[in-house]
Symmetry: C2
Amino acid sequence: MFAEAGLEALDDAGVAPDEVEALYYGNFMGEMADHQGHQGPMMAEAIGADGVGATRYESACASAGAAVRQGVRDVRNGEADLVVVGGAERMTNIGTAGATEALSIAADDLYEVKQGITFPGAYALMARAYFDQLGGSTEDLAHIAVKNHENALENEHAQLHREIEVEDHQEAPQLASPLGLYDSCPITDGAAAIVLASEDYAAENGLDDTVAITGTGQGGDRLALQDREDITETPAAANAADEAYDDAGIGPDDVDFAEVHDCFTIAEVLAAEALGLFEKGEGISKAREGVTTRDGEMPINVSGGLKAKGHPVGATGASQIAQITMLLRGDHGRSDAVDGASTAVAHNAGGTAASTTVHVLEVSD
Amino acid sequence: MFAEAGLEALDDAGVAPDEVEALYYGNFMGEMADHQGHQGPMMAEAIGADGVGATRYESACASAGAAVRQGVRDVRNGEADLVVVGGAERMTNIGTAGATEALSIAADDLYEVKQGITFPGAYALMARAYFDQLGGSTEDLAHIAVKNHENALENEHAQLHREIEVEDHQEAPQLASPLGLYDSCPITDGAAAIVLASEDYAAENGLDDTVAITGTGQGGDRLALQDREDITETPAAANAADEAYDDAGIGPDDVDFAEVHDCFTIAEVLAAEALGLFEKGEGISKAREGVTTRDGEMPINVSGGLKAKGHPVGATGASQIAQITMLLRGDHGRSDAVDGASTAVAHNAGGTAASTTVHVLEVSD
């Protein structure tokens, strides 16, 4: 899978594999799902770049986001001119129960997992607290799922191409109240790769149709929900966004659209609020009101998001960057939705956002 | 364990935990040994730095080396002024068989592990090829083990404080011929942490007794031994060394002593040759000849090395830097051995050196 993604990215960039100077690679559950750690060198070989420095990043579901961040930093700081950043995850081979067990390892083992909480339960606690303190209902969440399923219909890289209605969401089996089946992203096999080039390299080698990553941010939080002051917000994401905006010299008002980490519908709400796209407590209704739909003022997850594009855990942070790049360039099935857009953000969260990265992408001149 | 190491490092540097801007953390088998991935945020909290960006690096036994490399790059490039780099590994809780199984995940699962090769077997193949093509004997290896056990006697952080003789090595049970029990490092629980500060931060905050990391290098190779041209050498390490030397503006002739990744005695030989300290084929006899002993021309593994200091896998790359720092500063039980030394290298290898980092340390003015 990673060979396919990596070689497609290199081909798209018009760069030969032997030009690659380093690989920054995200993977979360390789030890559990494939009995294979130390995947960095293996994946460099898979894309024809064996011999380069190749490191695996693991930050739960934000593994590739962490890899993107270091790739961006190293290229802009002159440590390398041409690198590949990406990730891969195989999950279906260990089944739903196996994947749920493997995913749980991203939570605090002592205070969460051993007490019986896996991620549907953890995000259910966050949703319940949000509803209690700030308002909202499962019908609000339904509109997020409906939107993301609809968005994915024209995304050739999406896992799910199936329209759903609010009623489907409301009548679906519960996972952990108030979250039901359609509040959760699916279990996904997948890979993503992007080519990062320095401005000089891109100019000298005639790379065209480039998109610039102009800002990077990372934030952290305590791993266990019980150790946080307020589980209706995600300060790790807010801090990452502040850093990324500062880095890019923009603010949330400059953002035209966003790809955010909607592992569960409620996570999309928390992400959008942390990114400063909406005030706290106001994000919950934005899909229902049509603000975050494709033709709304602030389209979110035009790709279909984790909900319908899919969530190959260790690849997701790179997938978001790839999707935004295609959307901004106009070669994505949903590019119409962001016609004229010049600035987008990608938000990738690990665990219950205990580690989060935010990147700002802008169409380069 | 990581809290202990991290807080000791911060205390040694005279820096408060809330000064820490980011954590670069190495761990290899947390999923297998502790049912705990996503350890970055957890370890940031453990050292009182919760909320900072915290990423786990996994590059098998070179996990902490990869973390050190990114920490060094980010600090010298102005991305941060004060960061903690380290790693931790708990191995004994899953027993020898469990640890051997977990370690095997760093090898190529399809072409090595499923064929029955774990690391003692892989390094035995390398030793056998070396003996066949370049000469040497198990008695040469014995002198490496004897030297490293002896060196560890005065290292308060070492796991094994027990002198051995050549005869002990020769009479010990075989693991995988030609390697026996005393050719292998032990299974270790441990943690290591170092504080990296920018030159400006160090000057402004009066940090004293500092050591400079002046060069960083990383190399890669194909994961499986069968895919390599010559298993009597480790080009990933040679490439990493070349990069690190170039970066520091030195050559191997400038190196006063080295800490290298002797997970097996033969690995010390391959490392020293890759670092350019000896010609290919000449490293095997250097312990026997007294060249790499504490009073030799080129002391190697004055700390006791992985062999006797111990090998807490995800911490080892940071442990080497910490040991060299103490040796150069004169506050290590074996500092006498490197009296007057100003330049040292640390070599950290993952798998059969499929991923390797090399760092150059110099006493700063």
